[in-house]
């Protein structure tokens, strides 16, 4: 049966209203504060290190993002902070409409439920994008001011791609938070569940996954192929966490010398991946770096879509009445 009218009708109106709600909320103030403070602190620490370490690195700007100052790189902070922001914005998107008893009134206007859900998601994503872009600019600005070296075009392109990937990473968590806000009528339950899952996936899963793999796959590797296979299995299981995907993408994008997502693990074992005919440590062109992590980038976006669709289907079947 064909529905009459467009499912998009009203999306813009909903998104605009939600965005203005987000931007004027106290929550946004907290997020901005969090974003600016962490951005500044982490960058200042890593800048200190960079100045001590190197003076002739061609990709100096990118080091700002990845260099661990006191074991705390900007990228690592993002991996943890972005889900928090997304959950903070998304956990009460739908259930607050129920609790304020506004849902039936809004849905009795000539729009479909699609518009409400999609508008809310777009507004949330836009809010996060604004915050992250602000943070990104703070970092770049600080780096320029303190390092005094103008960045080249490729560096900027890589940094911009990294911003885009970060927003996609936030999308996964926003879709998850919105799914929970559809599932649970109480915002507290939704927030707690989303945070619980975040804690499990971001902090516990990396440890748990390697133990799980060790149980099923023997750790002893006699040949290089076997070793790489084992590593691939570890990676595959770890990739259940969007944070792992994000980490892999950013590592490759921000360091042109990285030729494989397994490179850091091999390095930890004192090994190096040397492809025939390549010069170790030589920078890859941007497009090659992107190609290495293309599957991961697609996975992040696909994950967002899948989570959104699950929430969408459940929301469509829910009764308007609480």
């Amino acid at each position: 049966m064909q529905r009459e009218g467009s499912p998009w009708q009203g999306v813009g109106v909903v998104a605009r209203k939600e965005l203005s709600d987000h931007l004027s909320s106290v929550r946004m103030l907290v997020i901005e504060l969090l974003v600016v403070v962490t951005g500044v602190v982490v960058v200042l620490v890593s800048l200190q290190q960079i100045r001590d370490v190197t003076a002739e690195d061609p990709f100096l700007l990118l080091r700002v993002f990845t260099r661990s100052g006191e074991q705390l790189s900007f990228v690592f902070v993002l991996t943890l902070l972005v889900p928090l922001i997304a959950i903070g914005l998304g956990f009460d998107l739908v259930n607050s409409e129920y609790n304020q008893r506004t849902l039936s009134r809004v849905l009795s206007q000539p729009i479909y439920r699609d518009a409400l859900l999609f508008g809310k998601f777009l507004a949330g994503l836009a809010t996060i994008a604004i915050s992250l872009t602000a943070m990104w600019m703070v970092v770049i600005g600080l780096a320029l001011a303190t390092l005094g070296v103008p960045p080249n075009g490729e560096e900027l392109a890589r940094a911009a791609l990294m911003l885009f990937v970060t927003i996609a990473y936030a999308g996964v968590w926003l879709a998850l938070a919105m799914l929970f806000s559809v599932l649970f009528r109480s915002p507290a339950t939704a927030a707690l569940s989303a945070l619980g899952l975040w804690l499990f996936i971001s902090i516990l899963w990396p440890f748990l996954s390697s133990h799980l793999v060790n149980v099923f796959v023997p750790a002893s590797a006699s040949s290089a192929d076997e070793l790489l296979n084992t590593l691939a299995t570890h990676q595959a299981v770890r990739r259940v966490s969007p944070g792992a995907l994000f980490g892999e993408i950013v590592t490759v994008l921000l360091d042109p010398a990285v030729r494989s997502t397994q490179q850091s693990q091999l390095a930890a074992m004192g090994l190096a991946l040397i492809e025939p005919g390549s010069i170790p440590g030589a920078p890859l062109p941007l497009l090659q770096s992107v190609l290495i992590v293309w599957p991961q980038m697609v996975s992040l976006i696909a994950g967002t879509i899948v989570l959104f669709v699950i929430g969408y289907v459940i929301f469509q079947r829910q009764e308007v009445r609480a």
Binding site: R105, S108, V320
Partner: protein, 316 residues
């Protein structure tokens, strides 16, 4: 009577196989105020949600202004205003901002929206609080803001779910007045309530719901005749001798019951107040009180269900 604007036929809703609305049929004519009355949980709100296409119809069908809310929900929702039970607004926004949001969802352009909004807020008496946050509004103000939203929409049909519940008497009177005004604007009003007497005064016709069925439908007078069998109770308090016999002699009186010293209840099939007064005067007695019990929805409703229960007991 003009063309019906709402027509429900055998409308049924089942939740997990349990019927909540069991095949109700009714029609509402253009410009009338139609009341869906009945206790909580009788299926009134579910019926309303089906008319708006906000919940799926399990069986039967409903047409609103000729559109099927299941297939053409946007057409229906464009023309029908809805005030839900315990209506909610965005508390962090002002009354005007809340209405502006709805205006944009309807698709009004900015200037048109402002004009209509001012007129609507004036009409419901909220023009002084336009720029106050809704969080500070009382229940009655929220209900009136909800009606302003229906006016903003220029709705042809206003569906009001429990508009007077939780309101104090003064606010109720004001709201009922606003509902009467809707009728003057040629808006068809369908309202639901569990407070029978409050809405009796505004409804042209009512449908009494019970356990998912419409058990009675018609004007209040019709229902009174139907259920109470055209019986009036006339309470007389008078001093005098031989009054009971005189009352019995009045044509139309079917029974006289002594309620106490000098007090009688006359069962009649028409209004015999003047005859009863004449009878008292004729006997040289003093008439102290004469009151005719007008059938209210409340009595019709309780009487009907008492009758049902007794019938059930006899059958069992």
């Amino acid at each position: 009577m003009s063309e019906p604007v709402i027509e429900a036929q055998n409308l049924t809703k089942r939740y997990d196989g349990v019927p909540v609305v069991k095949g109700v049929s009714f029609s509402v004519a253009q410009g009338e105020i139609f009341g869906l009355l009945g206790p909580n949980g009788a299926g009134k709100t579910t019926t309303i949600l089906m008319m708006l296409g906000l919940t799926e119809v399990s069986d039967g069908q409903v047409k609103v202004l000729g559109y099927d809310p299941v297939r053409e929900p946007l057409q229906v929702k464009r023309r029908v205003g809805y005030l839900p039970d315990a209506v909610g607004f965005y508390d962090n926004l002002t009354a005007a901002e809340n209405l502006r949001y709805i205006g944009r969802l309807i698709g009004l352009d900015a200037r048109e929206c402002e004009e209509k909004m001012t007129a609507a807020l004036d009409h419901v008496g909220l023009h002084d609080v336009t720029d106050r946050r809704v969080a500070t509004f009382s229940r009655g103000m929220r209900q009136r803001l909800g009606i302003a939203e229906i006016l903003l929409k220029d709705a042809q049909i206003a569906i009001l779910d429990e508009p007077t519940s939780g309101l104090d008497p003064q606010a109720t009177i004001e709201l009922l007045e606003i509902i009467r005004n809707l009728k003057q604007r040629k808006v068809t009003v369908l309202l639901s309530s569990h407070l029978l007497d409050r809405v009796q005064s505004v409804c042209d016709r009512v449908a009494l719901f019970s356990q998912g069925n419409i058990v009675l439908m018609g004007t209040v007078d019709e229902l009174g005749r139907q259920v109470l069998g055209g019986n009036f109770n006339l309470d007389v308090e008078a001093e005098g001798s031989g009054l009971e016999a005189r009352f019995k002699a009045i044509p139309g009186v079917t029974g006289v019951e002594a309620l106490g010293p000098n007090r009688w209840r006359l069962k009649t099939d028409r209004d015999v107040r003047s005859e009863a007064a004449g009878a008292v005067m004729g006997s040289g007695g003093r008439l102290l009180r004469l009151s005719l019990e007008v059938p209210t929805l409340e009595t019709i409703y309780t009487r009907y269900f008492r009758g049902e229960q007794e019938a059930g007991r006899h059958a069992a």
